[in-house]
Point group: C2
Chain length 358, copies 2
């Protein structure tokens, strides 16, 4: 064994020649033996990132048929070669569900052996060993039954799955739990110093992170919430869920259209939350936001340069936040919103039913 | 004349078929006649964006020689065709210097005819007509003497050039004036609620935006400032300028190295400001920052995804700001820092001398 002390980032398990963090590493050390601040999980299922699975499907498809055995073989190859599930094309990973097997004496994560957990850090930085050759997976879909083990570091995050909710529902919420937690924090700061009410617009308010962010904004004290959706069908769903005071239909890529739609619904917004995963929404989000307001970008399609140059070009004094997916307590908070808000729950359950029926 | 009312964003001058903001437009309306909220500037010089000029130089170069007449012809072509100076390859523009010629009755910019100004919004969204065929420019370098006119919109920004400083020095400061203004605001917020002093690290502290940000942090009440530079030569210059309490040498692309260097200098930082224009600094900046601290990204090389996923992967509860280049009063504030701080002034003057000598 290498006589290295552990680093909370997992640096001690990086096998590359240069010093990089586990996410950037080509290969991780997957030994089962734990450093004192680590936790080992017995894996029951991997949830592959959707973009990663689609890439594998395209690669091994053609003529209308897909070679699912080849997909399974490639996932096994990647994990065996890299010590982690990180699609080399998309760079993305996913998450996993399992049961805590062993907890190092210095682990700060608060887990106990036997806890059933989901990891909320990416598979792209999680040491992983598959022990069953993925025999129970037919290669179809992002849900991968799996026997094996994974390792969490001192700074990892894992959430205990609640007993009172179906696993699928909990995972679906946990997948986007950073957005409502950060929305609540930002909106709460505005509420604390405002004397005239706080308006919040959520662009993509009908989606998973968007609907939770609308619920979080109201929970944090927003006096008016505006959900922006791309078409009338989604507007009807969001209106039925009752999550927003106003629901408006607008193309978020049209800056003037978005600005005017939010203004007509009672804007500009003190806080604008961007949850819609299409490029080109930066200008509209900036224009929909009041002077000294805040834009929170949760969309991974956000362009840093478009946001920075866009605000400058519009002489717009807005604060722009990179949506950090980690806020302490985020999973518990999002699950609480789901439990307390029938509208949120109905949207999430409807989505799962719809997906199961595909 | 088209019977359209003006929009403060300049939308009324976009000639494209789809609704886009002037920066995204293919072509702008350059008529000299003003809408009521506009201002017309008599141009004396264009400052081309450095990346744009380098691209033109590469395109028209080869075998060690550059066809400077071709560079001039292409700039004329671009401006004639698009109604603005936006390099179609790099997407970037630059800024201009000129004198206010006419002010529309509803202009909110506070300018008067005769004011000598620099525009602080990009040339990529500024209607521009060149009237002298760039006869006074030999095609060499980013400074382009030019006779012609440009138009500012209701939401544009222009700063009056001060009488007490050389134009070159003022422009050099105004070029990066967003960074110190936002740094001062963020640091000031920490100082207002902290009882134990505020530590600020500036990555790339020896550069233009970095040195001004160090001065701004101290001015805003930081109790300890740390300048991070890439090599010993720059460390010596920054130490001599006296702008930082600690100067450390570290490669900002090495996350562990940056974290440990800032920690050794008295970190982690409450506020980390990233001013170094190389990719891959997100992880180190996050790790150099304390829990509940803030990272301000001013580098245009910042990757939104690397920042968002990096913080989540490290379970790091930091606030991450997209460095907005516009804060009201930013130009005046940066010039004030230059006037009051001999260290800042010496660094800027040294840089201009060095560039003039190239």
């Amino acid at each position: 064994m290498v006589a290295r002390v552990s680093d909370p980032t997992g640096l001690h398990r990086v096998l590359d020649d240069t010093v990089v963090l586990p996410q950037a590493a080509r290969r991780l050390d997957t030994r089962a033996e734990l450093w004192p601040d680590e936790v080992r999980i017995r894996v029951e299922r991997l949830n592959l990132d959707a973009a990663s699975y689609r890439q594998l499907e395209r690669k091994h498809g053609g003529d209308g048929s897909v070679d699912y055995d080849a997909i399974r073989a490639e996932v096994l190859d990647i994990v065996a070669g890299r010590g982690k599930m990180q699609n080399p094309e998309t760079g993305s990973g996913g998450m996993l569900v399992g049961t805590v097997e062993e907890v190092g004496p210095d682990s700060p994560l608060g887990l106990r052996a036997g806890d059933r957990v989901a990891t909320l850090v990416s598979l792209t930085l999680t040491p992983l060993v598959i022990e069953d050759g993925l025999a129970a997976w037919d290669g179809r879909g992002e849900q991968v039954p799996c026997d094996g083990y994974a390792v969490l570091f001192g700074r990892s995050i894992a959430a205990v799955l609640p007993d009172d909710l179906p696993t699928e529902l909990s995972l679906s919420v946990m997948d986007v739990c950073g957005a409502p937690a950060l929305t609540a924090r930002v909106v709460g700061e505005y509420v604390a110093r405002s004397s005239h009410g706080v308006t919040v617009a959520v662009v993509g308010g009908g989606g998973k992170s968007g609907s939770l962010s609308l619920a979080a904004a109201r929970h944090a004290g927003a006096s008016r919430t505006i959900g922006v959706v791309p078409h009338e069908r989604e507007a009807a769903l969001l209106r039925a869920a009752g999550l927003a005071d106003e629901v408006v239909v607008a193309d978020a890529r049209n800056p003037i259209g978005l600005r005017d739609a939010v203004a007509a619904a009672g804007g500009p917004a003190d806080v604008t939350v961007v949850c819609v995963d299409v490029p080109g929404c930066e200008g509209g989000a900036i224009l929909a936001t009041a002077d000294r307001g805040t834009v929170v970008f949760f969309s991974m399609a956000t362009s840093f340069a478009a946001a920075a140059l866009g605000a400058e070009g519009l002489a717009s004094d807005v604060t722009m936040l990179v949506g950090n997916g980690y806020v302490p307590g985020h999973a518990a908070y999002a699950l609480e919103l789901l439990r307390e808000d029938a509208g949120v729950r109905s949207l999430f359950e409807g989505r799962l039913t719809h997906e199961a029926g595909r």
